[in-house]
């Protein structure tokens, strides 16, 4: 649990960008924290999700509706992300995954892509220098995706952040960028095939009689080579701004995930929306567990 004098309210101050500035003290903050703890205590009586995935949709629209500069929507989205991360940690969640950038997003207007890349580089470097948030949740950060598609400075910063948090044992925060589920599956297939080829080449070298028969690739083989290997499947997938598509996000891992599409835009996503999401999840949890157990029995 985080300290009792912590309050996160990025939506109150539009100028708040630094994760540090999200931590404020005061009587009001203490009261908010106490109420929040009570709500979490009640919620925790029921089944709590261990892994939530977010499709952070609506930053662009948020900026447009509020007639603010386009990049500011994404900046506020980042603040909402850090706040949600901390709330999820308070609620006992161990894994958070976010869809930060799709491979298809490269087709957008080049200036927008460039500003997004610059924002990502800026925020990654900020997290590298100022480790308050990371240390509070003992966060291990993963970047899932085709990192070689990123520009050099972003890729280097991402790899540095991954390396510096690799030993952390707390919250596992996975950022999908640039990512596509189908590309992840193909990547796993390529790895499995390469392994099989290497094994057979070694068998050739050993000159053992080999008639070329080997076992087919199984679902478990592919599971072990997904970016998400070692992480449990998401319990909830939330796509904000009311959109109902998964847009090629975690299609392999979301077999029994509760798909939710709340109306608020991502920068507006707050504690109350998270509470509502968990309440919805708790209502369908018995059905999902039953379906999952039945599916396991079939295997």
């Amino acid at each position: 649990m985080l300290g009792s004098h912590i309050s996160y309210s990025p939506s109150v101050n539009p100028k708040t960008e630094n994760p540090d500035e999200l931590i404020a003290t005061g009587v009001l903050a203490s009261l908010q924290n106490f109420i929040r703890k009570c709500i979490v205590a009640v919620l925790s009586y029921g089944p709590m999700p261990k892994h939530i995935a977010f499709i952070m949709d609506g930053n662009h629209r948020y900026a447009k509706f509020r007639s603010i500069q386009e990049g500011s929507g994404h900046r506020m989205g980042f603040s909402a992300l850090i706040a949600s991360l901390l709330y999820c940690y308070e609620m006992g969640m161990k894994y958070i995954t976010v869809y930060a950038f799709s491979i298809d997003n490269f087709k957008r207007d080049p200036t927008e892509v460039k500003s997004l890349m610059e924002l990502m580089e800026e925020k990654i470097n900020e997290l590298l220098e100022n480790r308050n948030v990371i240390n509070k949740v003992n966060c291990k950060i993963n970047f899932w995706g085709k990192l070689d598609m990123l520009s050099e400075p972003v890729r280097v910063a991402a790899e540095k952040l991954m390396a510096s948090t690799a030993e952390n044992k707390g919250l596992v925060f996975s950022v999908c960028m640039p990512y596509n589920s189908t590309s992840e599956i193909v990547n796993a297939v390529n790895k499995v095939c390469a392994e099989r080829r290497d094994i057979l080449q070694r068998e050739d070298v050993d000159s053992v009689a080999n008639n070329g028969v080997h076992s087919d690739i199984s679902v478990a083989d592919l599971d072990h080579h997904m970016y998400s290997a070692g992480c449990p499947d998401p319990d909830i997938v939330i796509r904000t701004s009311g959109e109902t598509r998964l847009s090629n996000f975690l299609l392999w891992q979301t077999m029994f995930s509760h798909l939710q599409n709340p109306d608020p835009l991502w920068p507006e996503f707050s504690f109350k929306h998270l509470v509502w999401a968990i309440l919805q999840y708790q209502r369908v949890h018995p059905y999902i567990e039953q379906s999952r157990n039945l599916a396991k029995k079939q295997l």
Partner: protein, 242 residues
């Protein structure tokens, strides 16, 4: 020791009671909203709400329906659903359930035999048949969990076999780089290729896709009837990719 644990037991009971009350309140509100939604659906289906009298289905080329396997055993309900869809004007529907109950139910009719209720089935493909029901023609495809992750694994095995079995020098010693197009081709080759639905309806208590084939789910709108006035939001909800 027992006196010290009593407060925590009481706190736990209070929390449990609050949790139960919250969920009871949510259930009551849900029932109320479901009632309003059902009334709205009836009004729409009787044509009493002007703006919903005519809607365009031309953008809905392919529809998919995910059914819970336990509910899939109710053949009469599935047939009724198919008739409704056919009446509404849907031309292609893909039925999915994780255990393959729908495949087994409709399999005897896949080879062109007649079906009892005035429908006529033509053999269109392994999992697909054309149904002439209620005077409109509709193509039905039945898939199951084995076409999902298992299908991808089989396609992967097929791709792998081009590299590993037979001529081992095909892929050389360099990095193996199959593409998404290669996977699509392999999926088609093993019979797991099929059109990507524009809309996927989930019939069940929870909005989960239950393992619907990933390659066909990338940009599909996923809706659960009861959450929205889906019958008339088909046309407005179908947006271009992403």
């Amino acid at each position: 020791m027992q006196q010290m644990s009593r407060p925590s037991v009481i706190i736990k009971l209070i929390l449990g009671l609050l949790w139960f009350i919250v969920h009871l309140a949510i259930s009551l509100f849900s029932l109320w909203f479901d009632l309003i939604y059902s009334i709205e659906c009836y009004l729409i289906s009787f044509g009493l709400i002007p703006k919903y009298r005519k809607f365009q289905l031309d953008r809905l080329k392919h529809l998919a329906v995910v059914v819970d396997s336990r509910e899939a055993k109710n053949v009469a309900k599935i047939n009724q659903l198919l008739c409704w869809l056919s009446n509404v004007g849907v031309k292609y529907v893909c039925l999915y359930d994780i255990d393959g109950v729908l495949k087994k139910t409709f399999a005897p009719a896949m080879n062109g035999s007649r079906y009892g209720n005035s429908g006529k089935y033509l053999d269109v493909g392994a999992n697909t048949k054309a149904l002439t029901c209620c005077h409109k023609e509709m193509t039905i495809e039945c898939i199951s969990g084995s076409d999902g992750k298992d299908g991808i694994a089989k396609a992967a095995s097929l791709l792998c076999s081009t590299c590993v079995n037979g001529n081992r020098n095909t892929c050389g010693n360099g990095e193996i780089v199959f593409t998404e197009a290669d996977m699509s081709g392999a999926l088609k080759a093993i019979g797991c290729g099929g059109p990507e639905p524009d809309l996927l309806l989930v019939y069940g208590p929870a909005r989960c896709h239950l393992g619907f084939p990933a390659w066909r789910l990338r940009y599909t709108e996923i809706m659960q009837p009861g959450e929205a006035t889906y019958a008339v939001q088909f046309s407005s909800s179908i947006a271009p990719n992403q």
